[in-house]
Symmetry: D3
Subunit: 324 residues, 6 copies
């Protein structure tokens, strides 16, 4: 049971690829030093939730190598349950290189083709739903099914098990054009919508979740009509909106000095799900989401600056605040 939240069992189960992440401080072609950490959309969410006191399980696959050990060490450090993670003796842990090119622009280079994470097996999924009990929420992103047929099958298996166990499903679309086409993404993700309770996406990703190929006037409405309970749209500097059958809400972005925007979307999801697990209402979920998202923007790294519950209030402090 989580001390902070009183949750029994697992609050959130998530699965996907987490890679060793190398971050330079300038153009990659100039060489120099890189800092080594880990990154992955789903584990970023998992860490964000664990920092807020929730119980979270991450069930991806890493290689049986030192890079995989770093992934597992880091998640364990952050209190994420990795007992259902698998190690693939025949494939390496993926790698990601972040190259800050301009204050506003980061370039990302992946070494994940054929990685252990992309070979995540559907056979490993049932164990992730086992002891200490099924999760209240299953969180998936649209990245995992794009990694390959094995990882896609694992997602599908997870969706079915979530339904069997009565877990809610949250999907963050996270379309990656380097991994698959919009057509391929749409073909897959549309099949997922009937399972999804909370859909999180950017503006231009919504159509990927709808039948048909033409533009849509009110994709949120169509999705809600199609059974999605909450459609949450990330609008970057413009904040976010949440749509339900009853209401349409908007939350402006929190003002922060931008340091590193990578991971902000994942932090947003963590905040949203945290408030959901707290049984807070939709406006409160949105509010926490823009807050945790702002923390990510104001901190270097994908997840390193994620707030604990006690730290949530630090955002918005006047410049020069010293907490003694």
């Amino acid at each position: 049971m989580s001390a902070a939240t009183g949750e029994a069992g697992v609050g959130v189960l998530t699965l996907g690829e987490t890679m060793v992440a190398l971050r330079g401080s300038g153009p990659l072609k100039l060489g120099g030093a890189m800092n080594v950490s880990v990154a992955g959309a789903e584990s970023n969410v998992a860490i964000g939730l664990a920092r807020l006191g929730h119980t979270v399980r991450w069930a991806g696959a890493v290689g049986d190598d030192e890079a995989g050990e770093l992934v597992l060490r880091t998640l364990r450090a952050e209190g994420v349950d990795v007992t259902a993670a698998t190690r693939d003796p025949a494939a390496p842990t993926g790698l990601i290189l972040f190259e800050p090119r301009l204050p506003e622009v980061t370039r990302v280079h992946y070494y994940r083709a054929g990685s252990a994470g992309s070979r995540l097996s559907a056979d490993a999924v049932p164990a992730a739903f086992a002891a200490p009990g099924p999760p209240r929420v299953l969180h998936l992103t649209g990245i995992t099914p794009a990694l390959g047929p094995s990882a896609r099958d694992a997602c599908r298996r997870a969706l079915r098990l979530a339904r069997e166990h009565g877990a809610e499903v949250c999907l963050d679309v996270n379309f990656r054009s380097r991994l698959w086409s919009r057509e391929a993404a749409a073909a897959e993700l549309r099949e997922w919508i009937p399972y999804v309770d909370v859909l999180i996406a950017s503006d231009d990703e919504l159509p990927l979740c709808l039948p048909g190929t033409g533009p849509t006037d009110a994709p949120e409405k169509s999705l809600i009509d199609g059974g999605v309970r909450e459609v949450v749209v990330k609008l970057g500097a413009a904040g976010a909106t949440a749509h339900t059958a009853d209401a349409e809400l908007h939350a402006p972005a929190r003002e922060v000095r931008a340091v590193d925007a990578v991971g902000a979307g994942d932090a947003f999801v963590a905040g949203y799900l945290s408030a959901l697990l707290d049984d807070a209402d939709v406006p409160s979920r949105l509010e926490r989401a823009v807050t945790t998202g702002a923390f990510a923007v104001a901190s270097p790294g994908d997840w390193e600056g994620a707030p604990t519950r006690a730290e949530l209030d630090l955002l918005g402090s006047p410049p020069g605040t010293v907490v003694r």
Copy 2:
């Protein structure tokens, strides 16, 4: 005699605790690298004054350890007279950890309980007033009396000696709620007011210096009526005001790109006292105070960016200025 100012003897004497200061570049709980320097409200002021060419003596206590050696090395390097400082063989030099948590928020962790600095003895104070002669100004902060009875007695002794030797007294209230309550602070500091010529405080610290417990409409006036010659109020981004029997002045803050606001208050004091030692009038003192404060905000570290007299004009240079 100071080459820059022509001062004979000691311009300013100050006493208080200076600690070894470790500064990380992100959340402490993630480990990584920290940079080692020193910090202390009073020695920050001392360095600020020495950089501007004044003769300054710092008379705190450090342990007889390597950390104490670092404190003394650094102050000597900056030209601060430490010949009246004492070394306590039975207590360690204090430590302070700075943890930047957000661009606007720094967390500070102290390891100063039972430190040599908190055990500063009143017996060591007379020597600080001896050769090369008594100071023109004694500078104290409200931190030192909060460190323990020994350090409090040392402050009281210094106040009495200042009066005996005809030295002016400057007090920067610097209330620290981690060290004592507002009630305890008020009980002590109100006794000091009759000795104080220049009182420097933030807005909400003024009541600590006044008798009574209720709110006050014009605390500056009450303090001046009580014998304080100059009441200087630090208003952060709103600048500062100075109150005397004759006038009330305001100086806006200098615009700078904020890098690290820690130490800005101490730098402000250094600027104020520097102009006072130069026999400049109160408006000029305030002007130099907001300038040196701005240098601290624009530079990493507590005192590292303090300006020399020649550098004062650099503030306000257009972006991209190259001094060849």
Copy 3:
């Protein structure tokens, strides 16, 4: 159940103080950069065992601060069970500064007076023996009782509980003259001997465990006569000896290029207990102990270079070995 060893429950329970550890690369008084990690004799052993695939629980106390969070994050990362660790809201996590002064000499500065670790409460100990079941071995060092009466009582409570639960007891004497006198240490530790199955000490520490004050010809024999099953003597570069009722064994030190000897004794203990948990005989225990000790000497940090089971064979590789 540990995948590597097939152990059910907890292999080893240990308790003691773990501090945030700062390591510079030269004289502390010159300032510069320090690297932040954690260190503690008992947690060094715990990590060493976890790396070798054993289940280990560490049950110390840290402050409710960021430094404490770093301690817990690190132990979790290494797979050490910290669910029985406690957080003290009223005392800070201790700090330790390592200062390499010569290639052969490291100076250590402690900030642990009044620390959370030194206030470890006997009341917290029973929980450490609870689910998932009592440990097979309780490991203590002579440092913890020297930290203060509270921590000493916690050790005594642990010794009694070990006996109740049928756990073996391992004691590493680790006498620290900065914390208590030889007399005080002897007075306490002699009371422990009846509980101890495996005693590990350096040569000159053995008399501390024996009654009387005079020199002893064969302290190992006296200890075994007094009920200790195995007396293991660390001899540094000369290796180690193990004494039992039946035999006296010697293992030479493994030859390595010395990088950082701090933590070597703890690594030695981890190797010894690892083989004991594997049900290996005493010569094999000694052999693994000198091997893991050699890893510590050949690696920077207290525990960072501790080997996994698969890495044990790397020691003794010819210079220039490249494992692809």
Copy 4:
């Protein structure tokens, strides 16, 4: 032939001094770490052009020392032709120390007196015009003639050879008051004007290129009347203007988060000449110049952030752009 531009022969030839450049991260007097790279107004331009796919030759002199090797290694790395550079066995390669003093102010300290670069010989110039053929543009700055008589003669020789070979001449005035007086500069540079096709200068440098000593109402017009084809005026944050016989154009500065303005002027020149080599019209030249200048302002170092042709579009990306 350049793959990117289809240029035969050398697009631009430039000569001048390139030094080893050391960059600290704060006040030099505090010691600490410095990063080692190279810098020189002309080689900054050369690298900027090479990054954009042009063929460029740099023909300066370095010492026959490791510092000179660093200069040549770096230029070769960037694809700048250094086959016409010379090595002076009797003089060291110059050094430059960059000291960031405030976010807006960098101080620069030179160690170039008597350097190999300042002894650049006119005898070395003809080889720079030889195979693979004369350049389309010769680029000079007003720094080189200020370094000493030898370097000045080399410039004069280059101007004459440019005329002989029909190469256009670009001059960036770059007046350095530490190297010579305005009078000395004017006396030399006025003699150059008849050779100059493209004159680039800041506002207050224009009079240095005109006869007479009094102020001038329209220096650009006088220069054009005197035969200069294009007069380009760098206005910093106010952008830039270009004057020809037919037109007067203005381009505002591109908005970027300023990181390090050193080298911005050189990057501006590189952009201007790149578009000129592309046979783009003057407005397009100005547009590329403010774009490449903005890249320099947004990147640390003199030339390190110079864009490739493909990167030009990155400027102006919304904050948080991730290029995957």
Copy 5:
């Protein structure tokens, strides 16, 4: 023509994969900082030769990405001709992670599956033999044919072209068990032997070059009988031997303080070929080979410490030598 050696045309042509190389300072699983450089057996040789003043061309393939740019920048910096290198728009540049695990042991992790380097095309090889003329020596290693069928075909093409152009062929066997089996290696390399003039191998690699599967008493003799002119055997700390039809020579290893043995074999080859290009006799070749190999052992990095011709004499200096 090389200034140092008077060579016309290209001294050595080599082809193979060069990767971006990341070097940590401890166990990878602990994260931290890594330094970014490049590495590749063949380009290590190329740089070693260029440092000694020879003209060298490297004709591998890199991706059309920033990592590939770093490879080309570095080789250009070192004066290696990369005009015949190719860029593969459809595959990334490979990556290699060096993890120092013990003073004697480095672990290496590759990300080269499907890399541009492994897809090197035979079609790109003829251009490498074109202007400025065919090389005097073609250098290959046994790594390249193990990368995949495309790279293997490129090697075969190069061997045939070498014969056509009368270039000598040097083969460094460099068997990599992670890339192919001994059987597969032998099947390929035995076909190469008729083309090879200089064969360089470690002791246990010689049988891979011989027909038959049984052990051989004198593999060197069999190889020479098979047409190889020189068989050079690297013996690590035991030095090296060279076998020709007429003689068998041995050179002991040079004594150095070992810093990083990675790249020592490649440096050995560079020294051997350098002396061969100088028309030195076999004993002199062996002598230079052990010298350049020793430089690599005494320097961090794969190639970074390779000596220039003038530096060759530095090896063997007494400790504490200061060259002013």
Copy 6:
């Protein structure tokens, strides 16, 4: 009065050039990071003496620049009296680059031509002998007279003043072939011998101090016959010898793990003079000299590892010593 030694006045006065010192960690031509400190033979001695508790004055010249400020800050930090140092507004502070090229070889590059230090004026010398009183010992090296006529005259003036004030004179020959020829050195230094009480030199430097040009059988004896009281010969790894009219002594070098031999000779001198100031006999002087020299060899930097009096006993500690 020095607390450690009870010395009144100044124990040792020294003068010479101190430069800003940049230390890389590998070949300079590869760029990277350099660490910034200060170095100078005479100030190395001064710091060594101050660390041992003696009063020392350094009277060199630095520029009126930030580099000069670093020199003075560092010497003040170390407790060296710099009140008689001068600042030259018309010349820069010298620079020195240390490039470690092999474990045994450091290359040094100077930027001191025309430096403030080389322009040290004889006019500044008398003040160095003034309050607080003349020194007991004047220490000079053979580097200063080689820097130029002004610095040479300053040395001569100092020698005459030493005689007037009855100060002993110590000369460390320190011949630098880059600064002057053996002939020039001999011509100058022979004139100094009549002033010298303690002559310190390496083996091959002794002839420079003797009349005549031929080899000498017993140069030490000739020097003593010429009036030198003690001739001390540094023999590197072979230790040192001291010759007086009465005796010839030898001390072997202390065994240490060599880290950085630069500065070892200066540290040797500091130890010798320290014992001389303590009125210890010649064998004790030699013993302390080899001890302080060994500290320098075992520590990075020129002077950074110099021992305090309390640290002298650390040398010779067994590997792995932990001082708690």
